[in-house]
């Protein structure tokens, strides 16, 4: 016989399992959408849509599965700092590579 939830003190924030199932359903739907949209030729928009959907899925996992929505401000700060460094890497590398042709060879 497993102990009932009320037999133990639960000192931390408890996310209901309903939320997890809901997020899971959204992730599956978004996966279906991204595969379906990829089949349609939207030109340059394909990349934008695919990346937007991927970012949305990642945000859902981070906020709810990883409990970041209920985490401390300090944790939010560390995650944001990591994302800033990630953008520095991508933006500066791409701006270097994509403007090489501007330099007369």
């Amino acid at each position: 016989m497993q102990p009932a939830a009320t037999d133990w003190p639960v000192p931390e924030r408890l996310v209901s399992t309903r939320v997890y199932y809901l997020i899971f359903a959204m992730l599956v739907v978004l996966t279906a959408v991204t595969v379906t949209v990829a089949e349609v030729d939207l030109g340059a928009l394909n990349n934008v849509v695919a990346l937007s959907i991927a970012v949305t899925k990642a945000v859902l996992v981070i906020l709810y599965f990883m409990h970041v929505r209920y985490s401390t401000r300090l944790t939010w700060l560390v995650i944001s700092a990591g994302l800033v460094w990630l953008s520095i890497l991508i933006v500066f590398t791409l701006s270097d590579v994509w403007t090489r042709s501007w330099i007369a060879s």
């Binding site: 497993q2 102990p3 939830a5 037999d7 133990w8 003190p9 639960v10 000192p11 931390e12 408890l14 996310v15 399992t17 997890y20 199932y21 997020i23 899971f24 992730l27 599956v28 996966t31 991204t34 595969v35 990829a38 089949e39 349609v40 030729d41 394909n46 990349n47 695919a50 990346l51 959907i53 991927a54 899925k57 990642a58 996992v61 981070i62 709810y64 599965f65 990883m66 409990h67 985490s71 401390t72 300090l74 944790t75 560390v78 995650i79 700092a81 990591g82 994302l83 460094w85 990630l86 890497l89 991508i90 590398t93 791409l94 590579v97 994509w98």
Partner: protein
Amino acid sequence: MAELAAACAHQFDDAEQQRDAATLGMWVFLVTEIMFFAGMFTAYVVYRSLYPSAFAHASHHLNVVLGTINTTVLITSSLTMALAVHAAQVGHRRTLVLFLALTLLLGSTFLGIKAYEYAHKFHEGLVPGPAFTYSGPDAAQAQLFFSIYFALTGVHALHMVIGIGLLSVLIGRARRGRYSPLYHTPVELSGLYWHFVDIVWIFLFPLLYLFGIH
């Protein structure tokens, strides 16, 4: 209820602060992991922008059906992992073991499908190196695509193997009753690791598989 109050190490004010510190430390590590994968992702983005048609042609060799199945398998494993952490939080030991085992099973399924894909690539001669045979145009750029494909998915698969190792240890300890609502930090932190590996795949799948299928 005083005897059930969670003990904490002396440098912390209370159990909640100790838990927050553990979570923060894990996230600092995950941020380094983000940068680790970001290097390879950037390499992919750079070369894809330089050789768009060659990369699109090469990516046609990837199996979108298997990739979609694998994406769904990993998303489901994140659900079972979150439910495992929940079970630990409310002290349901058997449910915890069940969901950890399901997560491990789904992770292994992912690796099995990945192994099948790799074997197929090997037989098609798409592994970069002296055995690389490519029938389309721009073979050099295609080999570059596959180098990055194997590097990215290979390192991701390595992270999955480590995650499965973690889960095996957790299952053993959970079965012996090591975790309770007052202490289940290893389960939570392993959960963070597992979700992170899922997020990496969430980006890998569209970038590698879905690019240029039209």
